[in-house]
């Protein structure tokens, strides 16, 4: 009895903390989203969905996630495979790859703004090479596509490392003997990756993907820095409702929507990448 209770007891402080600083505000936000002037209503959600910007923001956010996350996943897998195989300098490589992690998303947005700006690196470079005579407006309001690409690039640059770090840790947990057995029984490098690494990496893949997808739906500062209002996303709209339009109730509704989407995807990946208990390492 005592032995069984101990872990829960140890989790108590963290649970309390979560209740006070997360659950309570969450209830407040949910309450705000579902009421107006003290009366229960769904008007806030109607107002949010009724805005002409709403379909665009949803589309942009989903599209960004759908493009950025798979690219990041492939890159992170590739980088993690390379790093895991290094005999020497493994931690050095890990640190270098992880540098973007130490930079806040706003700073990351500003760095990429410095690259794509009218007087930025890219234009200077192109001018020096004689490719262009006049600086190009990469991030102007008519060039939605370049803005989108710039945001995607910045996001990939900024947040691939977090996935890679998780995957490197996961790969380190796979015993070498399975690779040896696979190799003896005829699996080349690609087959070993597909038949051994990927299945045995599922728990780490799950963590990495869920974390990254949630972050993708919360994308805000990078988009704000690079696109301003030219590439509206869900988080930006929430901000707008709260601070520009001064409507806390709709902002709360919008925040709840992001939460719902995040929870939905989390459950989806938990289910899809589930490892049956008996098949674990």
């Amino acid at each position: 009895m005592h032995g069984k209770a101990l872990p829960y007891l140890l989790l108590m402080p963290a649970t309390l903390f979560l209740c006070v600083f997360f659950l309570y505000p969450f209830v407040l936000v949910a309450f705000e989203a579902l009421t107006r002037d003290g009366a229960f209503t769904l008007d806030n959600f109607r107002a949010m969905a009724g805005s002409w910007k709403f379909p665009v923001t949803v589309r942009n956010t989903l599209l960004l996630a759908a493009i950025v996350v798979p690219i990041q996943l492939v890159m992170a897998l590739l980088m993690a495979s390379v790093v895991s195989r290094l005999e020497t300098g493994r931690s050095a490589a890990l640190y270098i790859f992880a540098i973007p992690l130490g930079i806040s998303d706003l700073a990351a947005g500003l760095i990429w703004l410095a690259i794509f700006d009218q007087s930025g690196f890219l234009n200077t470079l192109l001018a020096h090479l004689g490719v262009v005579d006049r600086p190009i407006m990469f991030l102007g309001y008519q060039s939605k596509l370049t803005i989108f690409i710039a945001v995607a690039l910045a996001e990939i640059w900024r947040a691939t490392a977090i996935m890679m770090v998780i995957l490197v840790a996961g790969m380190g947990l796979i015993p070498k003997e399975y690779y040896e057995a696979a190799e003896v029984f005829g699996a080349g490098p690609w087959k070993r990756f597909v038949r051994i690494t990927l299945p045995l990496l599922r728990p780490s893949l799950q963590t990495a993907i869920i974390l990254r997808v949630i972050l993708a739906f919360e994308v805000f500062a990078v988009v704000a820095a690079l696109g301003g209002t030219n590439l509206p996303v869900l988080m930006g709209e929430t901000y707008n409702w709260q601070f520009t339009l001064q409507d806390r109730n709709v902002a709360a509704a919008s925040a709840l929507l992001i939460l719902a989407i995040s929870i939905g995807f989390t459950l989806f990946f938990l289910r899809v990448l589930r490892v049956p208990k008996e098949a674990r390492i």
Binding site: L200, V275, A279
Partner: protein, 346 residues
């Protein structure tokens, strides 16, 4: 045709030399057993043949092809790992089928081979389970089945029966011997169980501290050990050794007995005899009985001879008592002699 040649193979791990200049030739379809104490380099040698370890020096040839620069999958081998390496994310069926799927065999063939080898290893009722739901011995049999299913030219087995109970082990041993004799496979089989080695091997290679001390048929290894170590390692109880001093040209004095022996310039050599090769009688080595252990068919008698331990296996009706003085007569054709400096047979 898959003969194996190991030529001058050495392996160093940092400053530690695990294998010194190993030479071994294994004929096509031969059953070669590597026998030796824990840590003598058996697994290391097997892994070098498999290609999982690169030799620091030397060459490995399989079927007339030099393979030491080839990856394991191009060597035409299958292997049973000492720690099984049964894939945790695949069922027993898929584990056994793994190599066959890599070879892109048709599903019907895969099923036929998996079912047959599973039956052979008595694991046909476990095919749907995962590795995590198996006992150590069951896992080990999956590892063996996975290798057998490949029907390879060369099969490498690292203590494949070590985790089975005595009865099952006996049965599996016979099964393995039958299957491997029927298939045209060349086998290298690692074990530290000498009974297993004796019963399976065409030839036994006895290893000691990274060297092969003797490679010969089981009877030869037992009867004519090439070195003192082989005599002391093989046989239960092992060979007895008694110091011998020169008594004349080709005759030696051993524990109060003068015996004909090798002609040598040395003053001191070692006399050796197996415990079952002495008879209690009126003539022989002077021995004082210390311990008597009746074993059923025989009685194991431990004595003092020249201040050293000496074990004799006597008829169980021999009535000996502790403290008694015995005369143990060695059978002349079973006496062996060793050089105490080189430890080699004379």
């Amino acid at each position: 045709m898959a003969e194996i040649a190991i030529k001058g193979v050495a392996k160093r791990f940092g400053g530690f030399t695990a294998l010194h200049q190993v030479n071994l030739a294994i004929a096509d379809q031969e059953f070669m057993v590597l026998l030796g104490a824990s840590g003598c380099g058996k697994t290391t040698l097997l892994r070098i043949v498999a290609g999982l370890e690169t030799p620091s020096q030397g060459e490995v040839w399989i079927g007339g092809r030099r393979v030491d620069h080839l990856p394991p999958r191009e060597r035409g081998i299958a292997m049973v790992f000492q720690n099984y390496a049964v894939f945790p994310h695949l069922t027993v069926f898929e584990n056994i089928a793994f190599g066959l799927r890599m070879k892109k065999l048709p599903q019907a063939d895969v099923e036929r081979r998996v079912n047959r080898t599973a039956e052979l290893m008595h694991i046909e009722q476990l095919l749907k389970r995962y590795s995590g739901q198996l006992s150590g011995g069951q896992r080990q049999r999956v590892a063996v089945a996975r290798a057998l299913a490949m029907e390879p030219d060369v099969i490498l087995m690292d203590e494949p029966l070590s985790n089975l109970d005595a009865l099952l082990r006996l049965e599996m041993r016979a099964e393995l011997k039958g299957v491997l004799a029927a298939s045209k496979t060349t086998t290298i089989y690692v074990t530290h169980d000498q009974v297993e080695a004796m019963s399976l091997a065409d030839r036994i290679a006895v290893m000691h501290q990274g060297r092969i001390v003797q490679a010969a048929s089981p009877v030869e290894v037992y009867r004519n050990p090439a070195a003192r170590f082989v005599g002391s390692f093989i046989g239960n109880p092992p060979m007895n050794f008694i110091p011998a001093t020169k008594a004349g040209n080709g005759s030696w004095s051993v524990a109060g007995l003068t015996l004909p022996g090798p002609k040598s310039d040395k003053q001191k050599i070692e006399f050796a005899i197996r415990p079952e090769d002495v008879d209690a009688g009126s003539e022989g080595l002077h021995a004082t009985v210390r311990v008597i252990e009746p074993l059923g068919p025989h009685t194991l008698v431990t004595c003092d001879v020249e201040g050293g331990l000496f074990r004799a296996i006597l008829e169980s009706n021999a009535s000996v008592k502790v403290g008694e003085q015995l005369r143990l007569a060695p059978k002349p054709d079973r006496v062996r002699w060793f050089d105490p400096e080189t430890t080699n047979a004379l």
